[in-house]
Amino acid sequence: MKTSRPARWSLRVVALGYLIALLGTPVVLILWRTFEPGLGTFLASVKTPAAISALNLSLLIVAIVVPLNVIFGVVTALALVRGRFRGRGLLQAVVDLPFAVSPVVVGVSLILLWGAGGWFGALDRAGFKVIFGLPGMVLATLFVTLPFVVREVEPVLHEIGTDQEQAAATLGANGWQTFWRITLPALRWGLTYGVVLTVARALGEFGAVIMVSSGFAGVSQTLTLLVHARYVDDQNTYGAYAAATLLMGLAVLTLLLMSVLNRKRRTT
């Protein structure tokens, strides 16, 4: 459409104005408020014992969730693409389910299953704390990150088909050899992409985790819980800004990684 000059200009001004008010200014402002007192202040704020332990806990959760998602994600994708069984459509729907569930609802569901009064409450009463412990936070993160690896690996499996695998089998490779030498290398970029999404979401998850965490500083606080606790409980606004900036840095890193991986995927 040939838009007149003034019309084009006003559309541009409205669109950019909206983005600046909603996105640009708040982000710049928080960066300015974080770094205005100097880099030293920022570093001191993100190196307090509570912050270090929050970072460690977040990384620990990532370290548990990622391998589980990789193994079960690839197996699930294989079953969904290659398997011919009743209820495959149902499994497809279940894999997508976490995207439609509110994080708080995830937390409530886990409490009702694993909590002291829940279906598996006997475990809790026997002293194995799931809710208000690390297993609860891991389960919450697993729930919300479950679809990523499956959904990134699945299209690649569709695309590569089974010709190469069959060729390898004809040449005498056994199932494991075929998987390690043919299937897995073909999946690598899709898998990496899925892992990046999983890591980003695991580090950033808040609603599901706060429901199942006891939230003690230095014990059961993840990075996102730290941001919340500093702002609400400690009235430490600067500390919240600094921790939020740290998380924002990780998010931007994810964005960059994703665009690099996307280019790689398209060329290989």
């Binding site: 459409m1 019309a7 541009r12 669109a15 983005l19 640009g24 708040p26 982000v27 402002l29 079960f72 197996v75 294989l78 079953a79 290659r82 398997g83 069984f85 459509g89 497809q92 279940v94 389910l97 976490p98 995207f99 439609a100 509110s102 708080v104 609802v105 995830v106 937390g107 409530v108 569901s109 409490i111 009702l112 299953l113 694993w114 829940g118 279906w119 389960l139 697993l142 729930f143 959904r151 088909g161 069959q166 999404l197 979401r201 580090l203 950033g204 808040f206 609603g207 706060i210 429901m211 996102t224 941001v227 919340h228 702002y231 609400v232 800004y241 998380l247 931007v252 964005l255 665009s259």
Partner: protein, 299 residues
């Protein structure tokens, strides 16, 4: 970056009409793969997958559903219709609808400017659109509070108001409409618009009669996904919303409160209500998208 992939980052659901590959959502009909070698059958793999999905996803949701009816249907009904519960649901749906409409208009406008306009820094703006999906929701909350909260340098105080809710939800749902309209606009046939213009149609007429019908399916799907995401949102509204019962308390905050005061059945009932609203939205979207697909193939 594909919107489909990033949508899930923040827990959203996404359907991208311009994307042929099966995206991470149940809305896109999953195309059956071309008939490959009949599987030799790996029953243990299928069993393993079923077990995994059950433990991680299905059992918790089953516990939720069963708990919600623990006090019978009467109990379910009275928990659902408790005044503060109804108020929370009403605020949630109302604010989410406003945000979804805001997204429909502004998202389409932004997509238009990104595709048809040219200005220095456009590439950067294009990348920034995805930021809300990559940013943890609690960070979104803090970021918005720094401008619209108590320390606002421009003296705009949205904290503990419904405007605060709108701003927070508009922030986290920004990419949905932009990213679903953008590819359609890129593919759209400019010649039809030019033909309309040469026949004397004005800008508004062309937009209404030519562009809008092309974009409508993408706009509807983006708007619906933004709505589905908004009703369950927690992290981004938890700080700026203020959690004032019957005013700015959204359903997710009400659920959290019920857990804190040890009323798990109430929490489960409202959780089920939220799930039903989300599923109904996604179901309607699926019907709409398959209908527009059919119309496309018919014409």
């Amino acid at each position: 970056m594909t919107a489909t992939a990033s949508a899930g980052l923040a827990g959203g659901t996404h359907v991208s009409p311009a994307e042929p590959r099966p995206g991470p959502d149940s809305l896109v009909p999953h195309h059956a793969p071309p008939a490959q070698r009949p599987s030799r059958g790996r029953p243990y793999a299928t069993g393993l997958v079923t077990l995994w999905l059950s433990v991680v996803v299905l059992l918790p949701l089953a516990a939720l559903a069963v708990t919600s009816t623990e006090d019978g249907w009467g109990g379910f009904w009275s928990a659902l219709t408790a005044p503060s519960a109804l108020a929370a649901l009403r605020v949630t749906v109302l604010v989410s609808a406003v945000v979804a409409l805001l997204n429909a208009v502004m998202g389409t406008l932004i997509a238009w400017v990104l595709v048809r306009d040219d200005f220095p820094g456009k590439g950067l703006v294009n990348v920034l659109i995805d930021l809300p999906f990559a940013l943890p929701t609690i960070v979104a909350s803090i970021v918005l509070l720094s401008l619209y909260g108590p320390d606002s340098p421009i003296h705009v105080h949205f904290n503990a108001t419904r405007y605060g809710l709108v701003v927070a939800l508009a922030f986290v749902t920004l990419p949905f409409v932009v990213r679903s309209v953008q590819p359609v606009l890129i593919e759209a046939d400019k010649e039809v618009e030019e033909a309309a213009a040469s026949l004397g149609a004005g800008g508004v007429t062309i937009f209404r009669r030519v562009i809008l019908p092309t974009l409508a399916p993408a706009m509807i799907s983006g708007t619906g996904l933004a709505f589905a995401r908004a009703i369950g949102e927690f992290g981004s509204v938890v700080l700026i919303g203020g959690n004032i019962p019957r005013h700015t308390q959204v359903a997710s905050q009400y659920i959290q409160q019920q857990i804190e005061i040890d009323q798990p059945v109430n929490a489960a009932v409202i959780s089920v209500a939220l799930l039903v609203i989300a599923f109904a939205t996604l179901f309607l979207l699926r019907i709409a998208s398959s209908r527009s697909l059919r119309r496309e193939t018919a014409s």
